[in-house]
């Protein structure tokens, strides 16, 4: 009896010690669970990261400037022209011209009980459809809330905000497009078009023809890590 008791006490104590040690390690290994962090800490972190992003964006801008200066060489005149053209097409230059300004804002209609509030908000999908319509109507340069849309731009939903060029944008959404103002405007006001559908939910849209609209340059990074040119004749320029 006494012997048995000793064995079971030993066994129990080993198991208890083991559990405590494992728990200790687990707690120590998971200190930074985001959901338990305080709002202030998260705000500070966000602030820091935003500042870093701004600094990096400035660096990109200044480096592009340097690149431009470096390429201002007489011998490279042809190359420079090509570069300018490529920059224009790629959306790396701010451009201006006639076009339209489309404003989309969340619905001001009071929500009826039992109705889905999502129906009354402007979604990434709505912006995509509008931009698609504009491009189909020959828009040459498009930006949403000063975020230039280039070949790699995305428009997607991230929680309660919309990301364009990985930058958060919020309503009201202002889409500027350069192109033939009349064509652009009528493409949006087409019967059964997207703006008409949005109207049902009270989402206010406004399409304004303008003489000159300025579309800013793309400010993000442009680096291809995976895509390689398929050169057919020597090295690609």
């Amino acid at each position: 009896m006494k012997q048995e008791a000793r064995i079971s006490i030993a066994l129990v104590c080993i198991v208890l010690g083991f559990m405590v040690a494992v728990q200790f390690k687990t707690t120590a290994a998971n200190p930074g669970d985001l959901s338990t962090l305080r709002v202030q800490d998260l705000t500070l972190q966000l602030d820091k990261v935003s500042k870093e992003r701004d600094a990096l964006a400035e660096e990109v801008a200044s480096m592009r400037e340097q690149l431009k200066e470096g390429s201002e060489d007489q011998a490279a005149e042809v190359l420079r022209q090509q570069l300018a053209k490529a920059n224009l097409l790629a959306g790396l230059e701010a451009v201006k011209g006639p076009g339209v300004v489309v404003t989309l804002a969340d619905s001001a209609q009071p929500l009826q009980p039992g109705e889905n509030p999502n129906l009354y908000l402007v979604h990434d999908e709505d912006l995509l459809k509008v931009v698609n319509e504009l491009r189909a109507a020959g828009a040459e340069a498009v930006c949403i809330n000063e975020q230039r849309l280039v070949a790699t731009s995305e428009i997607r939903c991230a929680g309660t905000t919309i990301l364009v060029n990985t930058t958060k944008i919020a309503p009201p959404f202002v889409i500027k497009a350069i192109g033939d103002p009349a064509v652009l405007e009528s493409s949006l006001h087409i019967k059964g078009g997207w703006l008409e559908t949005l109207e049902i939910w009270g989402i206010k849209s406004q399409v304004q023809r303008v003489e000159t609209v300025e579309v800013p340059a793309y400010r993000g990074s442009l680096a291809f890590r995976y895509a390689q040119p398929v050169s057919t004749k020597g090295t690609a320029n």
Partner: protein, 112 residues
């Protein structure tokens, strides 16, 4: 002698736990903590029974393991049902641990 055995075995268990490459996912840490609480409760209950001379080996060992599994299992079930059974277990075991400790203290005081 008796206390020495407890200390040595606890140390051995802690050593084993620290040496073994076992780290629980964070979501299961909660159930582990409740299991530890149940284990502590069983140990103090056993000590109290020993003091009262009603110690039964089978009751002690079975109680230890069954309590651990039940506590963790109930906490898990509670989470699935979105009932905070976890809190109920913490309160129940906490109260029992303190009661047992108080009784143990009285026995020890009477002894000396």
């Amino acid at each position: 002698m008796w206390l020495l055995l407890v200390v040595i075995c606890l140390a051995l268990g802690v050593y084993l736990g620290l040496q073994m490459p076992v780290v629980l996912p964070f979501i299961y840490a909660k159930y582990m903590s409740i299991a530890i609480l149940a284990a502590l409760d069983s140990v103090f209950g056993g000590l109290r029974a020993y003091m009262e001379n009603v110690y039964d080996n089978l009751v002690f060992v079975s109680g230890f393991f069954v309590n651990i599994l039940l506590a963790a299992g109930l906490a898990y079930l509670g989470d699935r049902l979105s009932v905070e059974l976890y809190l109920a277990a913490v309160v129940a075991f906490g109260v029992r641990i303190f009661q047992n400790l108080a009784i143990l203290r009285r026995y020890l005081l009477r002894k000396w």
